[in-house]
């Protein structure tokens, strides 16, 4: 199958079409919405299903293959996060807070994009290694934690240099300026102490975040119960998976559609960033996975981990951890640009790359 066919086949899947329906509905200001509590539950359900599935697969394949891919993935996640930061700060001229927030949004992984990746592969009848779910679980908090550290170190440095409240570093509206004049000087020390406490608290919250807990928990449960124990809950946690995903994607389409007008506001640099960086990261991921010996599908999923940007877990953490960053930048770019770009175009591209590389290496092996 050539690239056009794959893209075409991918365009006409329920997932892409329901996403588009959501965007259209929001654009014409329809009142179509998935009720809040249901759309809060769906990611929990999706992660539980992904986790159980991964755990079941890992039980079959054993844990011995796990260590290297995880180590490589963590290292890669750290490198690309720093890389994002440099690009955003130097080329993009974003302030320190927005740069770290965006760097970590794109350094972190998107569980919904991961689900769509699984669905895409299933559609193409391609399987992938179950343990990639374990990598997802490990990566989920890593990049966020890393960014929180970096941003705090950076702020600390600035503080020492300037000897004034760190909020001055970012551009502020006049009202805030006035408030901070009052805050000047005397409060710095208590501020710094407060922050130490805060960072620990934020780290705790990041690690115990619901996404990570349900994902890790489900992997362990899937591993423990095995196929036999899974039988009775399979109708819910496997058969309903793609239908539930479609419902959630509809809501994501609506949310993305509501932000269409914000896309212009994020500026051409960030638009380009939101398309090129995932393409670059995803390609690197696929290639490395190939060298690690993963299957065609496994390499695509490995690539998706790095291509994807988190638009649920990351924003929730970042808003608390880097409150001075502008949330509409990282939410709009990740949900409004990168997510649709990946599910519509990048998934087929990564598959082509993975297939090509796989064939190359098979040939070179036997050539």
């Amino acid at each position: 199958m050539d690239i056009v066919e794959i893209v075409q086949a991918n365009l006409l899947t329920p997932i892409v079409l329901f996403f588009i329906l959501g965007v259209v509905a929001a654009s014409i200001k329809s009142d179509l919405r998935i009720p809040e509590q249901l759309s809060a539950f769906l990611p929990i359900y999706l992660l539980a299903a992904i986790g159980l599935h991964g755990g079941l697969e890992m039980r079959k394949s054993g844990l011995e293959h796990l260590a290297i891919p995880i180590a490589v993935a963590v290292a890669l996640a750290l490198v690309i996060t720093v890389n994002h930061y440099q690009i955003l700060r130097r080329l993009g001229k974003f302030n320190i807070f927005d740069s770290y927030a965006l760097a970590s949004t794109y350094g972190s992984v998107g569980a919904v994009t991961f689900s769509v990746g699984l669905s895409f592969l299933k559609n193409q009848n391609i399987s992938s290694e179950g343990y990639i779910t374990a990598i997802l679980a490990v990566l989920e908090p890593i990049s966020l934690i890393f960014s929180i550290f970096l941003v705090n170190m950076a702020v600390e440095k600035e503080l020492k240099r300037r000897k004034e409240p760190f909020s001055k570093i970012t551009k502020q509206d006049t009202k805030t300026e006035i408030v901070h004049d009052v805050n000047n000087g005397t409060n710095i020390d208590s501020d710094t102490k407060n922050k130490a406490v805060n960072i620990r608290e934020i780290l705790r919250e990041t690690i115990t975040g619901k996404a990570i807990i349900i994902l890790l928990g489900s992997i362990v449960i899937g591993y423990v119960i095995g196929d036999h124990g899974f039988v009775s809950i399979k109708p819910v946690f496997e058969d309903l998976f793609f239908g539930a995903l479609v419902i959630f994607i509809l809501e994501m389409g609506i949310l993305a559609g509501q932000r269409l007008s914000d896309i212009k506001k994020v500026g051409p640099f960030l638009i380009a960033f939101a398309v090129l960086i995932p393409t670059f990261n995803g390609t690197i991921g696929v290639i490395i996975a190939n060298y690690l010996g993963l299957s065609i599908g496994g390499a695509v999923m490995f690539g998706v981990l790095f291509a994807s940007a988190s638009f649920i877990a990351a924003p929730a953490v970042l808003r608390v951890a880097i409150p001075k960053a502008n949330p509409s930048l990282y939410i709009t770019s990740s949900l409004g640009i990168t997510f649709p770009y990946i599910i519509i175009a990048l998934l087929p591209i990564l598959l082509i790359i993975s297939t090509t590389f796989h064939n190359l290496s098979s040939i070179s092996l036997f050539g």
């Binding site: 759309s39 509501q258 939410i331």
Partner: protein, 101 residues
């Protein structure tokens, strides 16, 4: 029946600022509040229609005038710059003064 004058402090803020406010209340030894999710429109646009993290929270605290002033001042200095927050105080009458002081 005798009723006592006391203050009601009402804070409407984005949901992510609420924990900071609860900590602040605790620090000032204020041990009661009532809170609920709301939607709203303000300088920072419409809130409460999209992602759950974008909802607002309303927090109501019955407290002495002195405490009200302290909290308001601290919020203005520390949280206002970073979060969407509005707040106001008003006069209310309670039957059991001891509960709130």
């Amino acid at each position: 029946m005798k009723l006592y004058n006391i203050k009601l402090l009402t804070i409407t803020c984005e949901i992510l600022a609420q924990n900071k406010i609860y900590e602040m209340l605790k620090k000032h030894k204020i041990t009661g509040y009532t809170s609920y999710e709301v939607s709203g429109l303000g300088d920072k646009g419409m809130r409460g229609q999209g992602l759950p993290e974008e909802k607002n929270m309303k927090i109501e605290i019955v407290l002495t005038e002195r405490n009200a002033e302290k909290i308001v001042e601290e919020i203005l200095l520390t949280l206002m710059p970073d979060y969407a927050i509005i707040l106001y105080t008003s006069d209310v009458q309670v039957a059991r003064m001891e509960k709130f002081s």
